[in-house]
């Protein structure tokens, strides 16, 4: 078995009296493309938010490369090499596509230097252009983010997440609200990125992830229902009952 990059140990989360997650222990291996799926209200997003540090778990631990990072503030996650893209489009709307990515690259390479001109960092600018090209947006560099198509904004977001040169990339419903064409482009991009990165993604549509993921984790009512290869999950009787069955009604 390969190296464990991220793990949750008996992680639970309650909001007021509502139990969103119960006792989830999962280990994620380096280099794999893993999908977390489940019907609405399964606790996927809660679990994703814990993995990405948006809020800490109520119980249990989040371990990154063996180190407990449960209580780490959000902005430190990026320093550890964990980057995420969001369920809702989350860019800097009035800045250009290039500036969006540039600011993200700058966080890692330059920081807050108040004394130099931001255009003077050739290395940062080069990397920002590279990332735009990687997600297929180089022709859109000067476009204001809010004027871009939905699919393009999501791709822009991924370029921003990649700016942290993450060892682990977390994607929350990367194709939410996309047209079939945009969805296909996004899935191609994710597959391309997964060749040399560890990616964990949350997805509502099971069909989408079956083709490209190496491992699928199914959550249901805040509990771990199934965990295995796409084939194993597809043939799992429990999964069929709670998840696949729904689609046929």
């Amino acid at each position: 078995m390969s190296e464990i990059i991220l793990a949750t140990r008996n992680v639970g989360k309650t909001f007021g009296g509502f139990v969103a997650l119960k006792d989830i222990s999962i280990e994620f291996e380096r280099g794999k493309l893993t999908a977390i799926i489940g019907p609405n209200g399964a606790g996927k997003s809660t679990y994703f938010n814990i993995l990405s540090g948006a809020f800490p778990p109520t119980t249990g631990q989040l371990l990154f490369q063996g180190r407990d990072i449960s209580a780490l503030p959000q902005h430190k996650f990026a320093n550890y090499g964990i980057a995420k893209s969001f369920q809702i489009t989350n860019v800097f709307p009035k800045l250009s596509a290039f500036e969006n990515v540039r600011v993200a690259v700058q966080a890692r390479k330059v920081g807050l230097n108040p004394w130099r001109n931001r255009d003077g960092y050739a290395e940062v600018n080069r990397r920002a252009h590279e990332l735009l090209a990687l997600v297929g947006l180089e022709a859109r560099a000067d476009r204001t983010a809010q004027d871009m198509a939905h699919g393009e904004q999501r791709a822009l977001e991924i370029a921003m997440a990649l700016a942290a040169e993450p060892v682990l990339l977390l994607l929350d419903e990367p194709t939410a609200g996309m047209s079939p064409e945009e969805t296909r482009v996004m899935m191609d991009l994710i597959q391309r990125l997964s060749r040399d990165r560890t990616i964990i993604l949350v997805e509502h549509k099971m069909k989408l992830v079956m083709g490209i993921c190496e491992r699928i984790i199914v959550l249901h009512h805040g509990e771990l229902l199934a965990d295995g290869t796409p084939d194993e999950v597809r043939t799992n009787a429990e999964v069929k009952r709670v998840y696949l069955g729904q689609g046929r009604h």
């Binding site: 430190k76 500036e99 700058q106």
Partner: protein, 320 residues
Amino acid sequence: MTTNTAASLIAFGKRHRAALAIGFLLIFPWLMPYEALAVNILVLGLYAVGFNLLFGYTGLLSFGHAAFLGSGAYGCGIALVHFGVPWFASILIGVLVSVFFAAIMGFLAIRTRGIYFAMVTLALSQCVYYLFYQAVNLTGGENGLRGINLSEIGILGFSVNFLNPTTKYYVILAFVAFALWLFSRLLASPFGAVLEAIRENESRARACGYDVARVKFIAFVISGAFCGLAGALKALHLSIVPIETLHYLTSGQVVMMALLGGMNTFFGPFVGAAAFLLLEDVLTTMTSHWQLVLGAVFVIFVLFFPKGIWGSALAWMVRK
């Protein structure tokens, strides 16, 4: 004019915005009815620009910036009047005093957002007001701080007559020009980029790995320092620090100036301050209800020209 030349003209203007602004301010007194008004605009223009670092660039609406204009003015004035500190060092002391208050207020206020941020800054600035109001021995209390008599000042070994309004304008402009240059550099820097990112989307900036609370705090203190410098210069200009400098109306005025001129531009707040003071100057000679007219103008701008005078002018140039 084709879009291309207009765009490149705008790009040129943006790159050299500080130089262009300073160039304009060099001839500015000749365009004004009298020099004292020009100095007023200069000083309050800097106040509005400093305020706009938080408002326009970081997206934080403070209702307490009078505290920094006022504490800068008092700091400078008290150093001159009570301690006989040279004028140059007094300005520095004024800035440091405002930095001190900005650090305290910023530390407490950045924990809140939106309307709460506005209310916390307002409440804290009222605390500063009462602090200076009560310290009668130092500040003169209700009567304001009097006796800032600066007639001759030494600059690089030369003695300059500070009572001559034109000379006074250019001495003060030297400080304002330096501040504008510094301000423009700051905005063009990686730090400036993070400020805009926080304004656009705070949680995204945090996810990028920026310590948003720290950046906001630094921006708050820098903004306070610029306003403090404006205050110190105001004290030298007026020879008196009225207690109204610290009043919350002064905090409200700067919001109006920034909105009137254009909060999303470098020079907009300055234009706003000029428009505000010019209108006030003209209207007060015509009617005692001048505030009504000024208020109406303000409402018209907020409703129909949300980009402000300068912002609308720039947008119009781009379109043309």
